[in-house]
């Protein structure tokens, strides 16, 4: 886990979640394998962009905008904090569980926008890196 630049508030919170998961729940997993990919997380009400780069053997987090991420999660800060608390199955929201079904409602209502959603593998990775359930 690499922190680049000054992190505070939201970016520090996300860094803490990823760091904790890599240390505990995902220790020894292959989640950091594969080609280097960039995930941009935007909390539009705070005007904050957090860029998570998932590399072959590391995750890097920095507070900056990236114009061409592989995956872009765009939402408000309240919704963003609901995402880590969703029940997952295979790294994606578990539709058998109310918190998993909530993801669908958030997308349909427009509160949560995900560009690059077809990159299922990357979406699964970032969900697992941030998940607290």
């Amino acid at each position: 886990m690499v922190r680049t630049g000054e992190l505070a508030g939201l970016s520090e919170m996300l860094a803490s979640l990823i760091e904790s998961n890599l240390r505990d729940r995902l220790a020894g997993s292959t989640i950091l394998g594969g080609k280097r990919k960039r995930v941009l997380i935007t909390a539009h009400d705070l005007d904050v962009h957090v860029l998570v780069t998932i590399g072959e053997s590391y995750a890097e987090i920095e507070e900056r905008f990236d114009p061409r991420p592989h995956l872009w999660i765009y939402t408000d800060s309240g919704t963003l904090m609901e995402l880590p608390a969703m029940q997952l199955m295979g790294g994606l929201p578990d539709l058998r569980h109310p918190t998993g079904r909530a993801a669908t409602k958030l997308i349909v209502s427009g509160r949560l926008k995900v560009r690059g959603v077809l990159r299922i593998g990357l979406l699964s990775k970032i969900q697992r890196l941030l998940n607290v359930v």
């Binding site: 919170m13 904790s20 909390a43 800060s77 609901e82 880590p84 608390a85």
Partner: protein, 140 residues
């Protein structure tokens, strides 16, 4: 009406917490003491940092102290601190505490995944705090 911050306000707050079914459900598995630090703002009537310590356990408050000494306060599993006027915004429902943490207006020391897991409980604490008839230190 209870003055914030004060022992009387803290007592009324904890009574409300222990009477709340919503909080009991939302924090049913919570284990760990929490310290709230109301940081001094002398120009607003709060002359020194005030520590409030709460032993929160499985949806209830088993014990609490107001005006806790700094050493005990800082040794809690979770320490949440902000200037007095930020707490006032939280109690008045003008600032969501988790959003406040995202904006660095409120500082947390403790395990972040646990805090995120209990966002509902945190919201209920704020709702309960906002219902206490409160007189603020800078409005006396």
């Amino acid at each position: 009406m209870a003055l914030f911050p004060s022992e009387q306000w803290t007592k009324e707050f904890m009574e409300a917490v222990n009477a709340s079914d919503l909080y009991r459900d939302a924090a049913a598995d919570w284990e760990g003491d929490v310290t709230f630090v109301f940081e001094a703002e002398p120009d607003k009537g709060v002359n020194e940092d005030v520590y409030g310590w709460f032993d929160l356990w499985h949806g209830e408050c088993r014990d609490w102290t107001y005006g806790t000494d700094k050493e005990k306060g800082e040794s809690a599993k979770f320490v949440i601190r902000a200037p007095y006027s930020r707490w006032k915004e939280v109690i008045k429902g003008e600032l969501d505490p988790v959003k406040g943490m995202m904006q660095s207006k409120i500082k947390l020391k403790g395990d972040m995944p646990t805090i995120v897991r209990y966002v509902k409980a945190s919201n209920e604490l704020v709702t309960l705090a906002s219902k206490i008839p409160t007189e603020f230190a800078d409005e006396q």
